[in-house]
Symmetry: C2
Amino acid sequence: MRPPPSAAAQALNDTLARHHPAAAACLSPLGRSLFFPRGIPSQSAEARDCPINATIGQVTDGHGHALALPAILSALGGLDGDEAVLYTAQGGRRDLRERWAAHIAADAPGAPVDISLPVVAAGLTHGLELAAALFAGPDTPVLLPDPFWGNYTAIFERLHQARVIPYPLVRDARGPAGWLDVPALRRAIGALDRPAILVMNFPSNPLGYSPTRDEVPELVAAVADSPQPLTVICDDAYQGMWWEDEVYAHSLFHALAGLDPARVLAVKVDGATKELFYFGGRVAFLTFGAAGPAAQALEEKGRAIARATVSVVSSTSQAVMAQALADPTLPAQQATVRGHLLRRFQALKRALADAGLQTLPFNSGMFAVVRVARDPEEIRQALLREGVGVVALPEIGALRLSYGSVATEDIPRLVQAIARHAG
Amino acid sequence: MRPPPSAAAQALNDTLARHHPAAAACLSPLGRSLFFPRGIPSQSAEARDCPINATIGQVTDGHGHALALPAILSALGGLDGDEAVLYTAQGGRRDLRERWAAHIAADAPGAPVDISLPVVAAGLTHGLELAAALFAGPDTPVLLPDPFWGNYTAIFERLHQARVIPYPLVRDARGPAGWLDVPALRRAIGALDRPAILVMNFPSNPLGYSPTRDEVPELVAAVADSPQPLTVICDDAYQGMWWEDEVYAHSLFHALAGLDPARVLAVKVDGATKELFYFGGRVAFLTFGAAGPAAQALEEKGRAIARATVSVVSSTSQAVMAQALADPTLPAQQATVRGHLLRRFQALKRALADAGLQTLPFNSGMFAVVRVARDPEEIRQALLREGVGVVALPEIGALRLSYGSVATEDIPRLVQAIARHAG
């Protein structure tokens, strides 16, 4: 059942009842529940003018400019009118979909598993929304890593009335293989009493954690032992941003797609946003771990829900991406930007340790979460006044730092500012 | 209540039950209902290689190439990396949203009415989906013009479980003011027993009809007299394509937005797709006819549902569009392409009359509907074999012709081919 609107949503509904009674009377139950959350986008907007802005999950030079790949810039330097202006086919450009299927296959740690042709989505969020529409109905249990990206709640709970069940992602102390709380995940899966969804997000937002090589077997086994049919959505947005040697440097999708199709369906959501550092492109993919007729049936359902929600995806962005993927030097270009991120990761790790700040485990992605003893929102406000933007996560008493948008040389200042206020 | 899956959807579900039991068990009720309809996109795909392709609602030179505006091409010729690669704000680029608000105001036939700041959507379909999410819940009556664009059913009925009620758009014989069946619409509105949605789509797809100046007052009065609160969604995709002198050459949104806010909420969905002939851009807008706090509350709810479905919209496409809108010669460029369409409209009208083919009324947009005595699907197949692509509308015993993608000189051949098979 849909819960009553939150106070923030109810305030908007009251405004409409006073100022536009027809609008108030016509809102759907979903419409009544909607408000714009005071989450990361709001906090990023407030930090827009900060000289040090560690709020937003995109990669810049630290001074507001894109660290775009030459392959993307070269495509943007002169697009073909027909390609960029006319519609692409439903489901996306065929050549792009095939290239992305090859890109996924190339990531497989062993022999490639059977996958569907990827369906193009209008960004990672849309890819997740397509997966949610297909598999999340009223009261579907959705196991989400805790802490998780706030928009998951909007997608699974608000849009589809699914029942969110958080599972703790990491433990308080490192285990023999790594930090993941696999026993807790195993218990959460074991408690399922109906078909369900499990969201896996590695490297994770907001934690910046990925499993170590030693953690993968027990993680996959926990999924394989599910007592109920389970759809595992791999939110692979930050794929490729792996910074420590022990990190398992592949998507878990391949291992999960190889499990028993009577038990587990693996779904991969990934795209150009972070892998090609093409944040504004809004090109992502929805891919199913399935073979033959099942892969075709799922691909058709994916295309159908994409048609009903956005029809097709920007031809212009798809043209940019297709051109970039055809550039043989693309992997080297990605490695260069990842090199910048790795240096920032190392600088941040060192500075946080030097300052004695307590963090949650992070080894990948572009975020780190710092535990603070005082109210995170108060600290955020104080930092804003000093020109330092961070995201407050009051629900876990912490701050999220994005090092994607902070230059390496600014990282010590960022950490010192936090240490001054968090102490 | 959600009806049982159609035969086409059930065939996919059966395939999954056999080949991927976990996927079959995990599908949501919506997921179970999905299949890719054998509608316009499928029929367009089949006509891809036809020398005369009148299937698709986009404007080309008739030989597969875009008739792109120079302002769009010039933007595509060299985009700024930061603008195209980084995220835009939630809700869209502020400058673009303000320019579009001014564009809407400039269309007002009298003094501009109060409107919200337009929210950027990922194409017209997404704009409609945002409006549907806000106002269409289970069993919400949705009055749709008959015949209507097939994707409306997917959006309102399949996604949101609303109850579609078609109203006849035009009469069999012309009335004193024009062809619209306003009495039928008035009856449909009068029969409403709860808050409802009315979709108005002018110029219409598939008919290509817009109200005459004389029809507008009675149309607006029928809405004003609604016994129930009514959200009127103006699907203005084809705005500006007005070909006959008697056509009312404005959106109805302005008149509807001026009605009593205790009775009527006007919502406008429009965009670059057809107005700027930028089909692949996927930039559209959702705008509310409301003032002050009500406008702000609705705009916030619009941004919230956009965030949960796609997050932000392609920065690349938004950059192209913002640059094009800043070009002072844009209106002249639009007029040139519209001039091509007008000549095709005139050629088609003449050729259809000469061939003695019976059409539904058309005076605008880029479509015409031809009644046929034989099975439209059979005729479509026969025409395909001759290299002529048209869309079959079996539910009304007709063919839809898009003259957006047929060169003027090919129109007589198109009509002759139809006449040969339809006779």
